[in-house]
């Protein structure tokens, strides 16, 4: 669905869902409850907080279904294109990737990590200003990118 073709390569993006949360006790629990009640497994989640509101960023298998569930529940949410890279869960793994992006002059807006069942492997979600350029840089270093389509596979369901 999000496999774009450019320069002979298939571009692999993950579709992150960003959800507006009001700053009041229990909003995050309400959100996870809605997902749980609708049998939606979150692969990863991270919350960014401002003074009076927050944004929950989540990675799921079925983006369309999740968006529908959230909208029905009255949430304001949107899809954000991010890169998910696979890296060895060992010292220096993160630094190497960040250094690659830095030396290519690519601005990193935020990043967070998650694990799968695959041993010794971690995944890094990257939100960058220029995803196409970042993808090219990472590919050149033979770093594996996980597209939305292949997400489910890494969890071995």
């Amino acid at each position: 669905m999000i496999a774009h073709t450019k320069g002979g390569n298939t571009m692999e993006y993950t579709q992150q869902i960003s959800v507006f949360l009001e700053n009041r006790p229990g909003t995050l629990a309400e959100l996870t409850d809605v997902l749980w009640k609708n049998n939606i497994d979150m692969r990863a989640m991270c919350v960014a907080d401002a003074m009076d509101f927050g944004i929950a960023r989540i990675i799921v298998d079925d983006v369309y279904e999740t968006m529908t569930v959230l909208k029905d529940a009255g949430y304001v949410c949107q899809i954000t294109k991010v890169l998910t890279v696979e890296m060895a869960d060992e010292p220096g793994g993160l630094s190497k990737i960040l250094a690659l992006l830095g030396s290519a002059g690519i601005n990193l807006e935020y990043t967070y990590a998650f694990l799968s069942r695959k041993k010794d492997t971690a995944y890094l979600v990257l939100k960058v200003a220029e995803p196409e350029k970042a993808e090219a840089v990472l590919r050149a270093e033979h770093i594996r990118l996980i597209g939305q389509e292949t997400l489910q596979g890494i969890f071995g369901d």
């Binding site: 992150q16 960003s18 507006f20 949360l21 009001e22 700053n23 909003t27 960014a48 401002a50 003074m51 009076d52 509101f53 944004i55 960023r57 909208k71 009255g74 949430y75 304001v76 949410c77 949107q78 954000t80 807006e109 939100k127």
Partner: protein, 435 residues
Amino acid sequence: MPNYFSPEKETASREQIRAWQDAGLRDCVRRVYDNVPYYRKKMEEAGVAPEDIGGLEDLHKLPFLTKDDLREAYPYGLMARPLTDCVRIQSTSGTTGRRVVAFYTQHDVDLWDECCARAIVAAGGTPDDVVHVSYGYGLFTGGPGLNGGSHKLGSLTLPMSSGNTDRQIQFMTDLGSTILCCTPSYAAYLAESINERGLRDKIHLKAGIFGAEAWTEEMRRDIENALGIKAYDIYGLTEISGPGVAFECSEQSGMHINEDYFIAEVIDPKTGEVLPEGEKGELVFTSFAKEAFPLLRYRTKDICILSRERCSCGRTFVKMTKPLGRSDDMLIVKGVNVFPSQIETVLLNHGYAANYQIIVDRQKNSDSIEVRVEMTPEMFSDELSKITAREKELVAALKSMLGIYANVRLVEPKSIVRSEGKAVRVIDKRNLYQG
């Protein structure tokens, strides 16, 4: 082409209207003096007798009535007819103290229905229309008023009442509603829900008649664009009859007051002095044609301006502006006068929804004002900095409009409480500590 429900009344000459009002006032003062001891006492205290009232030029001699009088005389003290002649009761949604109760004879109900029929026709209504009434039904006058007007005109009436948005939209699409009648905030909510469901192409609305709460021109444009309709204002109050005391015509620049039944004055709210046409002040009504519950010089607390300038629609009835505020809803925060409509204007100009709530509080003798705004998909971004930058802009704009700092708080969609379709706009927590 202009269209009228009562052409001989709505386009009468000013002389003719004056003659109706002179005769109606003389008759009403006599009836009230003879049958309402409460008001007779007020007249005696003011040293005025029915003989002193020859016509409109003497109206200023009569004492005012206020909501306090209605509470004092509750429930039967202002009736000019015996209960046996009455067929209906309506009541205000007063939240504190005793409610205001109004009585109607069949003549009074007919008169009210006729006023509402005029409003529907002025909004382009005909007997071929499907009038979707989403005002609350019951003691509240919104539902019964527009329902009666639609019947009188001979339109197909959908007595939906408020709430159950899915059913509202289903009936609207299945039965081809063409004119929507409800509060403007409920109209905005319905519009939002219709567009969310992608059903804009399935509705057949051409006009809306929205009243019972204050709304701005910005809100009008929002609703008109979201539903692809013309949105008309309607004005009224239970004490005087209900919606339809005044209504907007095709010009959408003020509401024609049904002067064959009601006399309007604008007064200085502080001195009670009658102000000349074109000046801003408190609106006062005399409902001289009513039988059961006629009120002489009732103070509405609504601030507006009257204009007798020629209207392009051909109606000769005086026009009132939208209420520009209430002589009593002004908030004083940190010693500064704040009108909720000012805040609404800033929000709409900055692309926020009209769903907002103002919370005024006082901590350690210091006033604070918070504006809660519902987040919309248009305003949302994955980037915190974008949202906070917009918030800062809004705070700055509020500061320049109000002259004081107002905290902005973004809340989840549809989290601001609505009752009977009316959003609760102002919560003044400081009241909790009085008396």
